[in-house]
Subunit: 345 residues, 2 copies
DNA sequence: ACGTGTAAGGTTAGCGGTAACTCAAAAGTA
DNA sequence: TACTTTTGAGTTACCGCTAACCTTACACGT
């Protein structure tokens, strides 16, 4: 037979103890003498025993697996987030089951997940929770939401969540540009129905206010997070009679588009126009000029969300309803001091 | 109680049949009359029953789950590949469990996966299979490798694999450039220990040969797949006394770097230099000028790999040892006909 | 009328663990 | 010494499902 069919009973007889004793050793339960423990561990090693996940789940009522539900795998952010989640889960002895939800049968899927596959669910970047709401409640399955795209509406009970501090991050970005002397600062925003867009916009506006700068509607343009739309947004800004000296793009990718547009127009970054992004995706440090940006602590968010979920499952430890993790200003080469006006034609 | 504790027995009593009958209906086993089947299905719907995955796995010996082992989630290619795998797996009624292997305890992990969690393994983009080889064999677990980075060495028994036709893809790229009249064609290559790099290089060389063009070592430069290194590689090429009229970059990302370098040098794409990439990543169509490239059929590769694995698990259907899926030339705006020499400076 | 084949459904016995309890021996107590 | 407590380990009874076998009823040919 294959080595995969080694069972508790095999280890037990090898070690000369009962199955239950082996089980207790494996699960680090108390009530086992050190001598026995070592004998059992030796048998485990000799036989190469690993616990059978399904059997354990069936008998124990816990699957030792966390489900991750994500709408799309190609998000730039997902990978880093998962690193954090993975580390935390592994440390706690749990597996991570990543599931992509597609089309409209999400709730059906969730049901299947819940029933004997996972102990809890991490919802990552859900555009909306509405489709899941009902089945999630019905299953009474622990759920933590990471980076909810939309704000939970008032009437809707929301789940514990973890998110970056979009507002303060935007304030940091503005603070940076203002301290460089910029006053004519444009904002490339995003879809207004998404909370991150709105919060970053709020940070932009309030940043201007603290410097007593009146917001200029012409300096607020909209993108859809893509490089192409960042490119077009920047083009509009460059066509302005009085063009901005700095651009705050609400994400790195649209900042790339903006830089491209600026170069295309024969201008230089940051000498003519400073550009700051948001997210600090890996490419941000690779492009030329390297992008100054606001880092979302994705790894930490993944880890924190997972910790919350573990607490929820074990019913011990505090669970924060809404955990906001701080962002960080990463200064690179795409921002620079405002040069005197006459220097710039 | 929660609705998740609905079991076969509940459905059985609701429908007035035995557990086994319900099980047969659920699993579409023969020997059930249409009348009974409908009665059972109705009870299933009314109660909202879903099978308990662990119980089924324990009793049936099959987990109905496929494991996906991937070294990193941030690959541009992974998402599309997974779409293909996911669709195929779901159609067959299986879940996909995505697991990232980190650090050195891969084989330990694989053991845990195998033992009651998955029926088979899809290894995606493994740089090398060596670390897994032993545990995989020991577990006698069905395995299919998607896009092996390195060629399985002769002495090493290899697993069934699926890969894109890197060689023919490179030939397609060359054919395209040659048909546009280019003869001085440069190649931005990759790390020579990786099979895709080598195969694409081979396609480049043989493409030149078919046009009776003698390879010029100065036109073959190396990158590490990154945009930055593509940028630098292109810079070297531009500094040549007799610079190329077309560049074939072995992946899209380094092609982006090349285009950046060309623009930086004040030249235009494709008027001065044509650029073709490889992979057809989503951004390829978003950049300016849109990138002509060779598409790797990732979705199809994911689906094909999964189909192979399913065949392996069920022990029926043919399993091809080494399945090579064809690539496709995607013509966009970054390549153009060779303009007469005097037109260019 | 009789076996015999077949379709529809039921019965039994686990899969490999764990929770909850029981029990025996060692250790503490007066 | 006799009694209680503690500690270490074993027993029992499932968890929810399915493989494999078994039963029944009816159709069929001869």
């Amino acid at each position: 037979m294959t080595s995969s069919s080694i069972t508790l009973a095999d280890v037990a007889s090898q070690a000369g103890v009962s199955k239950m004793t082996v089980s207790k050793v494996i699960n680090k339960k108390p009530g086992i003498s050190e001598t026995t423990r070592q004998r059992v561990m030796q048998a485990v090693d000799e036989l190469g025993y690993t616990v059978h996940a399904s059997a354990r789940a069936l008998a124990g009522g816990r699957t030792h697996t966390l489900g991750v539900v994500v709408s799309s795998l190609d998000s730039q952010y997902f990978s880093e987030l998962m690193r954090g989640a993975d580390m935390t889960a592994r440390d706690a002895g749990l597996e991570l089951l990543i599931s992509t939800t597609r089309a409209s049968h999400e709730h059906r899927n969730i049901g299947r997940l819940a029933h004997g596959l996972v102990d809890g669910l991490l919802m990552v970047f859900p555009a909306s929770l509405a489709p899941y709401e009902r089945s999630l409640r019905a299953l009474s399955l622990p759920v933590v939401v990471i980076a909810p795209g939309t704000q939970a509406s008032a009437e809707q009970q929301h789940f514990p969540s973890v998110d970056a501090d979009h507002y303060s991050g935007a304030r940091q970005a503005m603070q940076h540009l203002l301290s460089l002397g910029h006053r004519r600062i444009a904002f490339i925003g995003g879809p207004p129905h998404l909370t991150p867009s709105r919060e970053r916009l709020r940070g932009y506006r309030e940043g201007l206010l603290t410097a007593s700068i009146a917001p200029d509607a012409a300096l607020q343009v909209t993108s859809d997070f893509s490089q192409r739309s960042g490119f077009q947004a920047a083009r509009e800004l460059l066509a302005l009679a009085e063009r901005p000296t700095a651009i705050f793009a609400l994400n790195d990718v649209s900042a790339f588009g903006a830089i491209e547009a600026i170069k295309d127009a024969g201008l230089r970054v940051p000498e003519d126009i400073s550009v700051i992004g948001f997210d600090n995706i890996p490419q941000a440090s690779q492009v030329f000029p390297a992008l100054t940006t606001i880092e979302q602590p994705l790894l930490e968010m993944g880890a924190a969300g997972t910790r919350q979920l573990l607490n929820l499952i074990q019913g011990v430890g505090a669970v924060t309803d809404r955990l906001i993790v701080p962002t960080e200003l990463i200064i690179r080469a795409s921002t620079g001091p405002l040069l005197s006006v006459d220097r710039r034609m």
